[in-house]
């Protein structure tokens, strides 16, 4: 099930909210667990077994580690078991075909592909359960003896499909001791509606432009149109993914959870290092905590530092998809970040701010080209077109058409990528509160409520109309 669908919004969500608040405290996790299984099994009834398996395995491994605290070797065995099983699951269901096709290409063999459909969210929940056993092993979080509480954490439907990757230690206390409130619920509604608007109104429409532009044969595409397409995809992927994270965080609040943030206006970054501190924060945190630092991080010899960066970015790329373009995309950022660490950042600091922004945006946008095209030949052709290599014209009619036809969308996307509105709003709210102007305060809040309702109504109108409603991060 996806959040931005009629079935979720108007059937699943009201039902589970009603049941959740009717349910006595003791049964709330139980309900969330079964609700989440229902959510997951919707359209994917078989793979739900996989998720339950993963939950059981890591629950037992957690207990095993805890029981063998005084026998470090045995505890380590349980940890290795957990990591191996999770990686094996992920490897088999996500990367087997990639491996087979590479072997075939390399050795000229003709091993058949498995062609298994990718279990939804497997990249997310395997990483979550690994965070649990590793943290229990490191004594950074207490073991969870209540299976339902643990299984609820693994399967929790708000973040199940596309993150954020919530580490167990961030919610361990909330699993049994969270407190729902009207104020938290209201925050959740706000956050959810903002996310829904980002996804349905901005991301889907940007995706539409990108798809329309892709229909133009590369040989007939002007340089400006090619870049316009890249910008459309740049906005699409940001609003799609961050909108989904907003919806997840908002839904979490409705059930009394507080999940960590996943995005912090990544497109206002002035360097690639900064971009990755603002983009998919939960994934970056995971790799830092469980790969980069254990490898020695930056507290080792220079050469080893670079090896560590290389490893993290290779894995980051690979995590996004079982294809070479994702690996290239990851390493591309790894190389830029190494360069920034070594010398580039010092040089950048001397430039005016706007040039630093241009630098970061250029490499971010170009990165999305590597990310989008899984087919190497198409990638090559598009890149050549971007730089006018085919002698294509600089400008054509598609550009003014899509700029004028979607003028407000472009404007909304640019403004929505910056903290401008948020800052204005908070400054205004602060000044009203500090002056104790209750009437203005009421007006401000009402305006916000009405604006959110308008976004909601518009999003529903688009959802009713649209069968065109793909979630990009489904593939991962």
């Amino acid at each position: 099930m996806v959040f931005s669908g009629i079935n979720f919004l108007f059937y699943f969500l009201p039902c589970i909210l009603l049941l959740y608040y009717l349910m006595p405290r003791k049964g709330k996790n139980f309900l969330l667990f079964f609700g989440s299984l229902f959510f997951y099994a919707w359209g994917e009834p078989v793979y739900v077994v996989l998720m339950i398996f993963s939950s059981v395995v890591d629950y037992l491994n957690g207990l095993g580690i805890e029981k063998n605290r005084d026998k470090p070797r045995r505890a380590k065995l349980f940890l290795c078991l957990s990591v191996l099983i999770n990686l094996a699951l992920l490897g088999f269901f996500k990367y087997a075909d990639f491996l087979i096709s590479n072997i075939n290409a390399l050795l000229g063999t003709a091993l058949p592909l498995l062609e298994l459909p990718l279990p939804i969210g497997i990249s997310f929940y395997t990483f979550q359960t690994m965070s649990y056993t590793i943290d229990v092993y490191r004594n950074e979080t207490p073991v969870q003896r209540n299976f339902i509480a643990f299984a609820t954490y693994v399967s929790l439907f708000p973040q199940l499909i596309a993150g954020p990757i919530v580490r167990y230690r961030d919610v361990s206390e909330q699993m049994l001791g969270r407190k729902e409130s009207v104020s938290l619920f209201a925050q959740g509604v706000e956050r959810f509606l903002i996310g829904l608007g980002k996804k349905v109104l901005l991301a889907n429409n940007m995706g539409f432009i990108w798809n329309e532009l892709l229909k133009i044969p590369v040989s007939e595409m002007s340089v400006a149109t090619a870049w316009l397409g890249v910008f459309a995809f740049t906005f699409q992927i940001y609003f799609d993914f961050s909108g989904y994270s907003d919806m997840a965080i908002g839904l979490g609040k409705m059930f009394g959870f507080t999940f960590p943030e996943n995005f912090n206006y990544p497109y206002i970054s002035k360097s690639i290092s900064e971009f990755w501190r603002r983009w998919h924060i939960s994934l970056g945190t995971w790799f830092r905590e469980y790969v980069y630092i254990p490898l020695g991080g930056n507290r080792c010899r220079k050469l080893l530092q670079y090896r560590n960066i290389f490893a993290v970015w290779f894995l980051t790329g690979l995590w996004h998809g079982a294809n070479w373009n994702f690996i290239i995309w990851g390493l591309y950022f790894g190389i830029i970040i190494m360069a920034e660490k070594a010398f580039l950042q010092k040089a950048l600091n001397r430039l005016p701010d706007w040039l630093q922004h241009c630098y970061a945006l250029f490499f971010i946008c170009f990165g999305w080209v590597l990310f989008y095209f899984e087919d190497g030949r198409m990638l090559g052709q598009y890149v050549v077109t971007l730089f006018g290599g085919y002698g294509n014209p600089w400008w054509d009619g598609h550009c003014p058409y899509y700029l004028t036809s979607y003028f407000l969308l472009w404007l909304a996307a640019v403004i929505g990528s910056m903290p401008l509105l948020k800052n204005l709003w908070q400054r205004k709210l602060q000044s009203v509160i500090s002056k104790n102007q209750s009437v203005q305060y009421g007006v401000l809040l009402s305006a916000k409520g009405v604006a959110l309702l308008v976004v909601f109504v518009m999003a529903v109108a688009f959802l009713v109309n649209d069968s065109y409603n793909p979630f990009l991060y489904f593939r991962f």
Binding site: L17, W42, V182, S405, N436
Partner: protein
């Protein structure tokens, strides 16, 4: 004080949100399910019957998702509201339809697949070669988007149908006489030759098509003054309207052209599909339905035979799309028999139907959109 306001805001926000979610669920269960959407011209999904097997295969949930979005309360209102919003913020095309000037809705076609186009062209050449005794001719009708370029929104980059027609002509065997209806229609683009809300040509457009086809088929067309015009509908909302429920566009009118001084008494239209006979080209009861264009020959059929009292001793076989439905009444003035075949439904070999020879024309007549989107034209090579 401030805290109270915040609390009240929180309560109202949560209340409204929950009420909207739950309200629509209750409303959708309470309202009766619709079985057919005339606006979209399709059967709507009904509540799927539960079976474990379907659930296991993921089909049940798929049908349920379709069911709830098809039966969403006020579905048509939501869609027209969305279209109105998009128009208001300046969007120039919605759901594959350009919002043209003068309330014209124009198809926004994707560039055709070159391979599909080539296959269609080859199939026609093969068809002519397989039947050397047939007088195979071909003509193509441009869409309103190509003819009414003046009405397109600013900067619109529509498919160049004129160039495509040229390419198709080049690809065709040289001995197949070919006609583009573009010049004949374009000369009259100031007149109402296409519907504003539908992709078809109007009866006037069909008349100019008939005039242009005179050279290719070898008849002398009657002048416009030989016809009396009868308006039969002023409330026609066509296929392009349906793509987004464009409530801001007024409806079309539908006309019939009757030859002066003649009656239709000697016309016999036989729909071979279900073996029904009519004594007119026009099935006026179709005006009670949504698609008023179906008044012409009653809409789509696999095979329709028209017998006239023209007394010319000539027959015409039309391998065609629905544009020919409003054209046939004009052609009937010059042929004793007209046979209309729709390749989407017609599954037989033509040799059982076409004798060939001097007095029988075989005309392949398509509008550009169906010519490059239709997947059944390629079957001609086997028929």
């Amino acid at each position: 004080m401030m805290a109270n306001i915040k609390q009240r805001y929180d309560k109202i926000l949560v209340g409204v949100f929950v009420l909207v979610l739950g309200g629509f669920m209750v409303l959708s269960f309470w309202l009766p399910d619709q079985s057919f959407s005339p606006e979209e011209n399709r059967v709507l999904q009904q509540a799927p019957a539960f079976s474990w097997r379907q659930l296991y295969e993921g089909k049940w949930t798929e049908k349920w998702d379709k069911y709830v979005s098809d039966q969403f309360p006020g579905r048509n209102l939501w869609i027209s509201g969305k279209s109105l919003l998009q128009k208001t913020v300046g969007q120039k095309d919605i759901n594959g339809v350009y919002l043209g000037k003068n309330d014209y809705l124009l198809q926004k076609l994707d560039l055709p697949d070159d391979a599909n186009l080539a296959v269609n062209v080859q199939a026609i050449t093969a068809f002519a070669e397989n039947h050397p005794n047939y007088h195979v001719k071909m003509a193509l009708i441009p869409t309103s988007t190509a003819v009414l370029v003046d009405y397109l929104p600013r900067y619109a980059q529509a498919v160049d149908e004129v160039a495509l027609i040229g390419e198709i002509k080049e690809g065709l065997a040289e001995d197949i006489p070919f006609l583009s209806l573009y010049p004949g229609l374009s000369a009259h683009r100031e007149e109402s030759i296409y519907y504003r809300t539908d992709h078809h040509w109007t009866t006037l457009g069909a008349y100019y098509g008939y005039v242009a086809l005179g050279d290719l088929l070898g008849y002398t067309p009657h002048p416009l003054t030989d016809f009396t015009r009868e308006q039969v509908s002023d409330s026609f909302y066509g296929t392009l309207y349906s793509k987004g429920n464009f409530s801001f566009v007024p409806p079309d009118t539908v006309e019939l052209f009757h030859p002066k001084g003649e009656t239709e008494n000697h016309i016999k239209v036989t729909v071979i599909d279900d073996d029904t006979e009519y004594d007119s080209f026009y099935q006026r009861d179709k005006l009670l339905e949504k698609d008023h264009y179906s008044i012409f020959l009653g809409g789509n059929h696999a095979y329709v035979k028209i017998e006239t009292g023209a007394g010319t001793g000539k027959k015409l076989h039309l391998i065609k799309d629905s544009f020919s439905h409003s054209l046939a009444p004009f052609l009937a003035l010059h042929y004793d028999e007209i046979h209309l075949y729709d390749l989407r439904y017609f599954r037989y070999a033509f040799d059982d139907y076409i004798k060939g020879g001097q007095d029988e024309d075989v005309l392949i007549l398509y509008n550009m959109a169906s010519f490059f989107q239709e997947g059944t034209i390629k079957d001609l090579q086997y028929k």
